[in-house]
């Protein structure tokens, strides 16, 4: 089956080391694919190349079997897009925005759109300029989903939404996936992504550094262990262990993360006679934080 999105050494540069620096990516149809990365890593640039907003400097992109930089906009009938920074004409009301963009798209059947309006409680009567960020975002979600596209490209979709609406959005994504449609979900918020995606790619400084299933990443993700002691200990012994890093250390409390097997860590801990041990389940958050920190250190 043909991939929904296929990138081959895609490149879009803004200066020597900024932008997207030759990435490969394959998003299979029918999956919710997480596209993660710190701010400025190249997520939005990649997305703009996918939608034909940017012309790549090198490499190739295929979206639903078509080159988005080509002159045929037909593939866009099958794509829904929510930009990271949603800008709508300020003078129009929500109803006017939905009606006009719907007509521009050639949307004839409004039943699903009306369901979404109801479901997200979209403000229709007030002008866009009077709407809060969350209310604008709801309009953006309806615009992206209303025509039941085969592929949804969503850049920071829950930005500004309250927790109830974030949950409603997660349900909508699950329904979309169950329909066999594809979603590329870009975010810098890992909690949002790991709830709903099966596979994830992480982009950092314009390059894909991780592309794997959430399950496999969880296996590789650092696990956190919190220790307390009823006597003073020297954490230096733990720091020397391979695949262990200390998150915080005081003479009577240590928090560390480790990857790989727990056996060497437990063996090193035993002589320290900890009073309590609390082990957290593997969390992608730690993996992601490590990438962020490396990025900050490099900067």
């Amino acid at each position: 089956m043909r991939a929904a999105i296929q990138l081959h050494q895609l490149e879009k540069r803004f200066g020597p080391n900024r932008g997207v620096l030759g990435i490969d990516l394959c998003v299979e149809p029918g999956q919710v694919f997480g596209f993660l990365g710190p701010n400025g890593a190249g997520k939005s640039t990649t997305i703009r190349c996918l939608l034909g907003l940017y012309r790549p400097d090198g490499g190739r992109a295929e979206v639903l079997g078509q080159d988005p930089a080509g002159r045929d906009p037909a593939f866009l009938t099958r794509v829904g897009y929510l930009p990271g920074e949603l800008h709508l004409p300020e003078a129009l009301t929500g109803a006017d925005v939905l009606a006009r963009y719907g007509r521009l798209r050639g949307l004839a059947d409004l039943s699903y759109r009306n369901q979404l309006i109801e479901r997200f409680g979209v403000e229709l009567d007030r002008p866009v300029k009077a709407l809060s960020k969350g209310n604008k975002q709801k309009l953006g979600l309806v615009l992206a989903f209303a025509h039941r596209p085969e592929l949804l490209v969503l850049d920071e979709p829950t930005s500004g939404l309250d927790p109830l609406l974030q949950e409603e959005f997660a349900r909508l994504l699950r329904e979309t996936e169950a329909d066999g449609r594809t979603v590329l979900l870009s975010s810098h918020d890992l909690a949002e992504v790991q709830r709903v995606v099966r596979r994830v790619a992480i982009i950092k400084a314009g390059r894909i550094v991780i592309d794997d299933t959430v399950e496999a990443l969880r296996d590789r993700a650092p696990r956190t262990i919190e220790l307390t002691f009823d006597h003073d200990v020297d954490p230096a012994r733990l720091q020397a262990l391979p695949q262990v890093s200390l998150r915080s250390a005081s003479p009577r409390a240590i928090t560390l993360t480790h990857t790989g097997s727990a056996a060497p860590v437990l063996a090193a801990l035993a002589p320290l006679a900890p009073d309590t041990i609390t082990a957290q389940p593997a969390d992608l958050e730690e993996l992601f934080l490590q990438l962020y920190e490396e990025d900050r250190d490099a900067g």
Binding site: L51, L53, R71, L76, V79, L88, A91, R100, R103, L104
Partner: protein
């Protein structure tokens, strides 16, 4: 042609277009109503002939108390183009570069329209924007005969067309510059400067001998700078104005196709 996009473009500028259109109409109505009081005033003509610099600055040539001179000196040679260009250059700079900068164009470009059709819709909207002031100016003139103002109707109609083409040309210049650079400020600034230079070239040519030849390079000269309300507009002038607009519009489309949008 996405007519809906043309409607959206005009809807977003509704107040500006209506305000300028009604303002131009009201101003010209006043000019028409005042004509009987000035048509026999020879001192006005004497004053202007003794002060050719001031007359040239306002684009006035010949008698100002004749019907053509009155309309020309009070509207078609100066305020008319100013208002028309205010709208068309403003729209031209905003249509691509302005909307690209404020982020609204990116979402439109991801609709299944295609850049060429989006550009075509914006150029059609520019045609309509450029027509606002010429039409708003022409309508009050129809009341002229009730106030002893009998313009040459054919010349007035073709001058209105030429004024619309002039506005379209400079609006298309702004639109093209916006599509090439993505900078609204640059599009606005360069187009406004080009309009000012073209106006001065045309209006000062009667005073400065060295400008008489070069004034043919000015679209103002072809549209309103050669006493068109009295003499009519030569077909060659209309062709030149339309041709310039087509070249600029034609250049804007591929430039827009290449423009990166947010």
């Amino acid at each position: 042609m996405p007519v809906e996009l043309v409607r959206l473009e005009l809807r977003l500028r509704r107040r500006m277009l209506l305000g300028t259109g009604f303002g131009a109409m009201a101003y010209l109505l006043l000019i028409v109503l005042m004509y009987p009081s000035f048509r026999g005033d020879t001192s006005l003509n004497s004053m202007l002939s003794s002060n050719p610099g001031a007359a040239a600055a306002f684009g006035i040539t010949g008698s100002i108390t004749s019907p053509a001179g009155w309309l020309n000196g009070n509207m078609y040679a100066n305020f008319g183009p100013l208002l028309a260009l205010l709208l068309s250059i403003g729209y031209g700079a905003a249509a691509i570069a302005g909307q690209a900068a404020d982020g609204t164009l990116g979402l439109v470009a991801t609709l299944p329209l295609g850049r060429t059709r989006i550009a075509a819709a914006k150029l059609l909207a520019l045609v309509l924007v450029a027509a606002v002031v010429p039409i708003a100016s022409y309508l009050p003139c129809l009341l002229g005969p009730h106030f002893q103002l009998y313009p040459n109707w054919s010349a007035l109609a073709w001058t209105s067309v030429a004024l619309g083409l002039l506005a379209f040309d400079l609006g298309a210049l702004a639109l093209w510059l916006g599509a090439v650079t993505g900078s609204r400020g640059l599009a606005l600034g360069v187009s406004a400067a080009a309009a000012a230079a073209a106006y001065l070239l045309s209006s000062l040519a009667p005073l400065v001998h060295a400008l008489r030849g070069p004034r043919r390079l000015s679209p103002f000269y072809w549209a309103v700078g050669n006493d068109q309300l009295a003499r009519g507009v030569p077909p060659a002038a209309l062709v030149a104005l339309a041709g310039l607009g087509m070249v600029l519009a034609g250049a804007a489309v591929p430039a827009f196709r290449r423009l990166d949008l947010q």
